[in-house]
Amino acid sequence: MTSRHPPVRDFAADFDHTDPAWVADPYPIWDDLRQRCPVAHSDRYGGAWLPVTHDLVSEVAYDHEHFTSRSVVVSERRPGPDDLPAPIGLSPPITSDPPYHSIVRRMLLPAFTPKPIVALEPFTRDLCRELLAATEGRTSFDAAADYAQHIPVRVIVRFLGFPQEDADMFRSIIRLVLEEVDLPVEERDERFTEVDAYMDAQIEDHIAHPRDDLTSFLIETEIDGHKLPVEQIRGTMILLMIAGIDTTWSSIGASLWHLAQHPEDRRRLAAEPALMSTAVEELLRAYAPVTMARLVAKDFDFHGHPFKEGDWLLLPFPAANRDPAAFEHADLVQLDRATNRHAAFGLGRHRCLGSNLARMELRIALQEWLARYPDFELSDPAAVTWSAGQVRGPRALPVTIRQNGR
């Protein structure tokens, strides 16, 4: 994706996470900034900051006094007076601050514990096998578009109780929210109106015909004896959809991208199935897809930097995961890494609600892939493209199959 912004000359003073250099390979940029800054600044997006060490990223994640989660996607548009005010935000609980955050989060947490997620495993395994079966007979295809992306879409669609045939539309919504952050404000607002209309239709349909799914669960949920306002249900549904799809797609794709280039890792995983549990964590660490964001809540001095109320702050958990001060051989992928306190799912109160779901999907997606295609490689490394914005993963990943294990 080409950025609508001018190219970045110096990431320390003018960073932009939609810049082609960042999109292609952000790791050397973060390594350089870690040596030089380690808090970068940019006047883009109306003013934004970027800490790149594990210590600083943790500090921000735990600080709810100086930072608000009211908006967590950096764009040209900040939340305005017409938006739901803090501490609720547009998409609770990810955009909520304490104490309201805890109330909404507690409401959602039971749906994402290991028990209900384990129940989705057979569906996920069948789905992966079905997707792989559809590639039978082809020696090369796109592992991101033909495999990885379908898994989280169909799992979350089942979870929310939306029509399976709407999957393509979901992907365009996600692109709007996460990638097209440099669209003009009016155009972006107009597109969001369409998204809201779709969600409202789903909510109405679920009110008329309640079922055993997450959407009906949200409609029926009460906080302090009150049902949730419809805009909050809508916001939370959009959040679950976005948070559950692009992220996991990215993670599955990036893991396959790694395995395509590392035959020794492929062979080890095939020979030692028990290695999968540490391997999943290590692939999540090394290729963590999600960079979060905060808004500065009040003027203060952050390690010598004059943070102003309303400044954006990018919270790059993927950069924290590559910090050599926090991880030995941080840039090496070691599938048997025993000590791994990675922050792929964030830190603190906003720890990814769907982390159990994401881990399950990644594990099963890799197991089923390797069972069918134990030997494969990139068809053309130059043809691999990466998403722009705060969720990083391969969007085109042409692979060539060397061995069919079926």
Binding site: R106, L109, P110, F112, T113, P114, S277, E281, A338, T339, N340, R341, H342, A343, F345, L347, G348, R349, R351, S355, N356
Partner: protein
Amino acid sequence: MTHASFRVHVDPDKCQGHNRCYSVSPELFELDDLGMSSEVGAGQVPAALVGQARLAVDNCPERAISLTETRQDGEGQP
């Protein structure tokens, strides 16, 4: 003769429900309805599970888990 024994503890104020400990050792940790972890029983770690307890400590992103060595007669030894 006294043997070293170990006890694990999850700090409920730090646990955010990553579930890494539970995944490493369902024998030593249990989850509540919200997915928050705590040690099973009094946190006593059988000798065979000391390795798992260490792994749980080393894989908790929030550093919420502590492993303390105690003497078998119960005297604490941090």
